[in-house]
């Protein structure tokens, strides 16, 4: 494991190059370039506002922002997973011909979407300003939450990237899982809705959700900081950290297991 980080550090230049390359490549040749990401998210926000606030008339005050602050990082999260899915198979020519730590490929995809999210933060802040959501000191926790998301996300990226080399239908499965996963998180609904749900004597909101879907603690932390203007709870931070480390280690082990035959299987 220590070697794993040493290797990554040794090849950090290549990692940075990969991240830059995929960020650049996405907007290469398009006229507006990065502005498309802004437009995309703003369009989302406008649609949410119209649909939920004016048509559905959802009770939650400022529902579009309630949704927006969680949905932006969530979109990046799922994009990272589907992006890393093909990170090994799509770079077959590299994997077959040149040595470098293979983890760099899914890791670079994960980091690309983290950077993409960081680029999006100004939009979220702008939206907060317009919606008159107060900026509080809790926003200082943002980097920590992003790092926690990154650890968890990278672990998942390792797993799907490695599995996809052996079994090409992982792609379909991951598609279905990410589609359903969004509803397993309190993104569209407040966490309070789960408080009354009790399974085996324990509430879903306090026990089952963090246990079975620990990434929800990251989602809730984003909402705490950027919607409610309050500190993320220590419990959420701890759940995110511990689950992140566990998933990362699992991802590392799975990746290591499959890595040995990448050059032959892709």
């Amino acid at each position: 494991m220590l070697n794993h980080f040493k290797e990554i550090f040794k090849y950090r230049e290549l990692l940075i190059t990969f991240v830059k390359k995929s960020l650049d490549a996405r907007y290469k040749g398009s006229f507006l370039g990065f502005i498309w990401t802004f437009i995309n998210h703003l369009a989302h926000l406008v649609v949410f506002t119209i649909v939920f606030q004016y048509i559905f008339n959802v009770g939650t005050s400022n529902y579009s922002m309630f949704l927006f602050v969680c949905l932006v990082p969530w979109t990046e999260f799922t994009s990272a997973i589907s992006g890393s899915l093909v990170s090994i198979t799509g770079n077959a020519n590299l994997v077959k011909k040149i040595y470098f730590p293979r983890q760099l490929l899914p890791l670079s995809v994960s980091l690309t979407y983290i950077v993409d999210y960081i680029y999006c933060i100004p939009i979220v802040l702008l939206a907060m300003l317009i919606s008159k959501i107060p900026f509080t000191i809790s926003l200082l926790f943002l980097p920590i939450i992003i790092i926690l998301q990154c650890i968890f996300q990278t672990g998942i990226c390792y797993i799907v990237a490695a599995l996809n080399v052996k079994y090409r239908d992982i792609k379909q499965i991951v598609g279905i899982i990410t589609m359903a996963w969004v509803y397993a998180n309190p993104i569209f609904y407040p966490i309070e809705r789960l408080q009354s749900l009790v399974i085996l004597g324990r509430t879903v909101s306090d026990f089952w959700l963090p246990l079975l879907n620990p990434i929800s603690s990251v989602v809730l932390s984003y909402r705490d900081m950027m919607y409610f203007g309050r500190m993320p709870s220590i419990k959420n931070l701890l759940v995110a950290l511990i689950s992140g480390i566990i998933i990362y280690i699992i991802g590392y082990l799975v990746f290591n297991h499959f890595e040995k035959t990448f050059a032959e299987d892709v």
Partner: protein, 394 residues
């Protein structure tokens, strides 16, 4: 020998591939067994042991499919061995494919950075070398165009230019010398010589035996996954060539014979001016040699002539000399002595073949061939080592 002198150490290395009849690639297929999961094992490399000292250049030869490239991939860390271990000591670069990782939408300049990073160069090193890389590639005018607009030649030049500016301690090269025009190959060679002078450990996989003989001090001959022979380049290559020609003879015998059996070569030898055989030892470039051939006419009386074919190790014909037609009775023998006054060849292994021909021009006996091992005083590129002088005249 201390551990620090060793660049590459391969111990008891074995690698096998599974050859699937019809491999399941999805979970559905795996579970439902829609495709048969049966495979046969194919051992590509069997128990390879190899130690390469720092600064050595090693040639890796063998026929197609003998495991050369697999061995290279294993040393590079691209593949993992089934058994045994590979240890490398030093910064390693592997030129198996030029231009790996080029992105078509990026400009030449951007791709230099990406490609160099893949080879393990830092951004600073590239910054320092970028001008020299662009100059070397000869495509300065197009360097800021996306490389999807490049011709394949330009693409290759750029890729090679990056590859030569990496700063490795161990360099693995697979057959890249085979690409490009003459000029490109020459440049390639000059660069390799430079690496060699700078004490870079080099492993070169090539079918260009001349290049291997000239460039590599030592040579390893892989045959069906085992090291058949290793040692000084020339002797290994000689051994390899006589093995290969032996194989060819066998296949000739089995298949339709391309020659008629009207005559045979009883004896074929090559001597120097002192009547000593030149086979199996080094001869100096420029000395004279005498191919001596004893022939016997079979079947009928008739006219035949002898031809001597001189070619390079990789079967590039250099020259053909022949005798007059001579009339021989059935079962009569005759010895012919050719005298080649001077053989001004560059260092390397050359093949001399003897063949008999009838008046109609058909070959009428089995070809016989010998290999000679020429050593020139100074090395140069090309086949001939001309005897020349140069002085100022006004």
């Amino acid at each position: 020998m201390s551990d620090n002198d060793i660049a590459i150490e391969v111990k008891n290395l074995s690698k096998e591939f599974k050859i699937f009849k019809d491999k399941p690639t999805t979970i559905k297929e795996k579970i439902l067994m829609l495709r048969s999961d049966t495979y046969t094992r194919f051992k590509v490399l069997k128990d390879i042991n190899l130690t390469v000292k720092k600064g050595e250049s090693i040639g890796l030869i063998g026929h197609n499919g003998c495991g050369k490239s697999t061995l290279l991939s294993l040393i590079a860390g691209i593949m993992y061995p089934n058994e045994g271990s590979v240890k490398t000591n030093g910064r390693l670069s592997c030129l198996i494919q030029l231009g790996a990782g080029f992105h078509p939408d990026f400009t030449g300049r951007e791709n230099i950075y990406v490609n160099a990073a893949i080879f393990g160069m830092t951004r600073k090193e590239v910054d320092k070398n970028i001008e020299s890389i662009i100059d070397f590639s000869e495509i300065r005018e197009f360097i800021d165009n996306p490389i999807r607009t490049y011709s394949s030649g330009m693409y290759l030049k750029l890729a090679f230019s990056v590859a030569t500016h990496i700063n490795p301690e161990i360099l693995l090269i697979d057959e890249i010398l085979a690409v490009g025009d003459m000029n490109f190959q020459k440049k390639c060679f000059a660069k390799m010589e430079e690496f060699k002078r700078n004490k870079v450990t080099i492993i070169l996989v090539s079918h260009n035996l001349n290049a291997v003989a000239k460039f590599c001090d030592k040579c390893i001959w892989l045959q069906d996954g085992v090291i058949k022979s290793s040692g000084k380049s020339k002797s290994v290559i000689e051994e390899y060539l006589s093995f290969m020609s032996g194989k060819q003879d066998k296949s000739n015998e089995k298949g339709n014979e391309k020659y008629t059996n009207e005559a045979e070569i009883v004896e074929f030898k090559i001597t120097d001016s002192d009547n000593e055989s030149v086979i199996g030892r080094e001869i100096k470039s420029g000395i004279g040699i005498n191919p001596i051939i004893k022939i016997k006419k079979l079947q009928t009386n008739g006219k035949i002539k002898a031809e001597i074919l001189l070619s390079t190790a990789d079967d590039q014909l250099i020259s053909v000399i022949d005798s007059e037609f001579i009339t021989l009775k059935k079962d009569e023998t005759q010895t012919l002595k050719f005298q080649i006054k001077s053989l001004p060849l560059s260092s390397g292994v050359y093949t001399i073949k003897a063949v008999l021909k009838t008046e109609e021009g058909t070959e009428c006996c089995k070809r016989t061939e010998l290999n000679i091992n020429v050593q020139a005083e100074y090395d140069n590129i090309g086949i001939f080592n001309l005897d020349f002088t140069c002085k100022k005249v006004d």
